[in-house]
Structures are given as C-alpha cells and as structure tokens.
C-alpha cells in the first residue's frame, strides 16, 4: 500500500511542481527512473512470492539507481554514453519483462 501511495503522491507532486531538471542530471534521470522501476517490479514480485524484504528492497532500489547512473556517467566519460545508456535500458527492460512475467504468473496463474 505504501509504495502505491508513495508513487501516486510522487507523480502528483511532480506534475504539480513541474520542476526543471538540472542540466547535469538530464542524461541520468531517465536511466535512474528505469532502474528504479526495475527495483519496484522486483519488489512487487518478491512480495507476491512472499519473500519481500524491506531492507533488500531499499538497498536494491538505491544501488540500482546508483549503478545505472554510474554506468551512464562512465559511458559519457568514455565517449560511449549513448550506447551504454541504451545497453542499460535494454538490460533493465529485460529484467522488468522477466519480473512482469513472474508477477503475471502469480496474479493470473498463467
């Protein structure tokens, strides 16, 4: 319940305040969002599996975001930022798909 409320409140706040993304954050924000989404999906799946651990969720959330941003940052420094961010998005996308499939099995038993 808390995550859903938090998500909804965050979306509302974001739409309400409509802040400008700082320049230095612009390349990383989308990646960070995707990474966090991956964490959220994973947490939801763990919850359905009955093995959800708040601490694991928090740490994985944070580390996911940080690592994703770090990879992109590194890529930018190496001059392959665009490709690396694509790679990160692809990997995270695959993971999200996998988690979504597991969630689907739980919810629909199929």
């Amino acid at each position: 319940m808390i995550p859903i409320l938090g998500l909804a409140a965050g979306v509302l706040l974001g739409l309400l305040f409509d802040p400008t993304v700082p320049l230095w954050l612009q390349p990383y924000l989308p990646i960070a969002v995707v990474a966090a989404l991956d964490a959220v999906f994973g947490g939801f799946r763990a919850r359905l599996d009955g093995i959800f651990d708040a601490k694991v969720f928090v740490i994985s959330f944070v580390s996911n975001v940080v690592v994703a941003a770090l990879i992109v940052f590194l890529g930018d420094q190496l001059g392959v930022g665009a490709q690396l961010s694509t790679a990160v998005v692809v990997v995270l996308g695959i993971r999200i798909f996998g988690n979504a499939a597991a969630i689907r099995r739980h919810v629909f038993r199929a």
Binding site: I2, G6, L13, T20, V40, A46, R47, I51, G98, N99
Partner: protein, 325 residues
C-alpha cells in the same frame, strides 16, 4: 533488485513454488548474510550514495533474520538460503513482514515517492520540448550535421530560385513593355481606324445645304482637305470616317458607309484647329467652293471635341500578319 538475475523467467507455469525461490534465493541469501553478520557497518556503505534516503537513520536495527525462514517451505528448496535459515528462523519468522517496520515503510514510501516524482518530471520534461541543453555531445554533433546539411540544401534551393527569378524578371519586364507598346499602338491605330472613341482639340465644321447642291465629291473633298491639313480622325453626322470609308448617294440623299446623312452636315474633326481652318478657307478650297454653289459653311474651332462614333472593326478575311519568327 533483489529479485536475482535477469534471466529469471519461470520455465514452467505450473511450478511457481518450486521455481521462484531459485530465482530470488541467491540475492536474498547474500543480503541475509550481510545482515546477520554485522548489520551496522554494512548499511551506511549501502546508503551512502543517496544521502536523502536518510542514511543517518538507517543504522536503526533492521530485522537481522534472513527472508527465507518466513516462507520456510519455499526456501527449503533453495540451496543457498538453507544454511542460513536455521539460526534465525524460529525467532524472527513472525516479524519479517512488510509494514511491520516503520522505518522500512518510511524508506519505501520515500523511495517510491522519489520514483514517482522523477517519473513525472522526466515525462514532463520530455513532453515539453526537445531539450538540446541536456543532449550528449555526439547527439549534438549529429543534430548539427543534420541542420547544416539542411541549411546547405535550402541555400541551394534559394540560389536556384534566385536564378529562376533573374531569368524571369527581365523577360517579364520586356514583355510588359512590349505589351504597353502594343497597346498604345493598338489605340493609335484604333483612333485612325475609327474603332476607338477619341477626344482632343479640333473643330466642328457645319455645311448647310438648303438647295441640295452638295455632292459626294464635295464631301470627299472636304474629308481629303481636312486630312491633308492634319485631321487625325473625324465623324460626319455621327458616322465615323475611317480608312475605307465611302461616301455615296446623290445630292440631298448622301450616305457615309451606307449610313444616311442629312443637311446640315456636321463634321467633328480632331486635329490642329488653326491649320484645318486655314486649309478650309483657302481660295478655291472647300468653303469658297460650297459657298459659291449656294451652300454655306461655318467652322467653330474648339479646344476639345469628342469623336465618339465608332466603326465596326474590319477583320481581314484573307490577310494575316506576317510572322517572321
């Protein structure tokens, strides 16, 4: 995420219970190791990258027991979690549930709030407009390349259009001048031919003929004399005189181009008034001749007379303009 490797797709829909722990086991197990071993030192290092996640508060004890015991029947099938499970299992099995720990709940709430916020902001900023300021260098270079290519294309187009304009403008000027000239010429010819109304200085010449003595030859003489004296166009009793005008009939029943005229015969002539008047009055000319035969002639010079009778345009039936080109 703690949900283990990306390739965690469940192979068989029927084996949920058997498969899921395999996927999640390693991650959870590793995490549990750290927690059970030494909770305090581990947590700050994990939280360090994001200070706003209340790293300082994190050291508050999180349930040290591994996740596996909570769902013992599933965890038992996982090889990695099993060794850790026995020690903490009996004590903390009941406490390891979401929402039991207010701190964890608060953290989760904050994180998801941040995620929602970032999501909304990102979606909004992408939807706003294409922000070049945040683009990468190579993207910018590509965009610049595209723009310069487009610019050079447009420049080529401009120069093409300019050349076409240069080509067209003079010819247009020439043709319009030629058209003007042709129009002016057509008007002149129309005045001479009698197909266009005309006005200008001239005179009105009135021949009274009470005794029906004026013959065709007198009218023709008058016309010739007037032309000789510089008459440009004229009309006789409302009949325009042109190049091919014919005067026919007998005295008292004359006609110009088949249109009957009756005395007094009124000539409206455009030309030099003085010259024509002088020409009419020279001894042996039109006026003395008609006067001597019983008619009378009056001449009224005028600064502005109007010759507005028109002749039908003669369309040559056989002749066509010679075309050199």
């Amino acid at each position: 995420m703690s949900t283990g490797p990306p390739g965690s797709s469940v192979p068989d829909g029927t084996g949920d219970d058997a498969v899921v722990p395999d996927d999640l086991g390693p991650g959870q197990g590793a995490q549990a190791d750290a927690e059970t071993g030494e909770p305090a030192p581990e947590e700050p290092t994990h939280e360090a990258p994001t200070p706003d996640d209340a790293a300082g508060e994190q050291p508050a004890p999180v349930d040290p027991a591994p996740e596996a015991p909570a769902t013992g029947d599933e965890a038992a099938q996982s090889a990695t979690t099993e060794p850790e499970a026995p020690p903490g299992a009996p004590a903390s099995a009941g406490r390891r549930r979401v929402g039991r720990d207010p701190l964890a709940a608060a953290l989760i709430g904050v994180l998801t709030l941040l995620l929602g916020f970032a999501l909304a902001v990102q979606v909004r900023s992408v939807g706003d407009e294409q922000v070049l300021a945040g683009a990468r260098e190579e993207d910018l270079v590509r965009i610049l390349d595209e723009l310069s290519a487009r610019e050079s294309r447009l420049r080529d187009q401009i120069s093409d259009q300019r050349a076409a304009l240069r080509e067209l403008a003079p010819s247009d000027g020439q043709s319009s001048t030629a058209l003007e000239a042709a129009r002016a010429r057509a008007e002149e010819i129309g005045i001479l031919d009698g197909t266009v109304a005309a006005e200008g200085p001239g005179l009105v010449l009135m021949i009274r003929d009470p005794n029906d003595v004026v013959r065709v030859a007198d009218i023709v003489d008058a016309i010739q004399e007037l032309r000789g004296a510089g008459a440009e166009t004229m009309q006789i009793d409302g009949a325009r005189v042109g190049v091919s005008t014919a005067v026919t009939g007998v005295p008292g029943d004359l006609a110009v181009d088949g249109q009957p005229i009756t005395a007094p015969y009124e000539f409206v002539v455009i030309g030099s008034p003085q010259g024509m008047e002088t020409a009419m009055n020279i001894p042996g000319g039109v006026v003395p001749h008609i006067n001597s035969r019983g008619g009378s002639v009056t001449i009224v010079p005028s600064d502005r007379v109007v010759v507005d009778a028109l002749r039908p345009r003669d369309r040559p039936q056989y002749a066509a303009p010679e075309t050199d080109d």
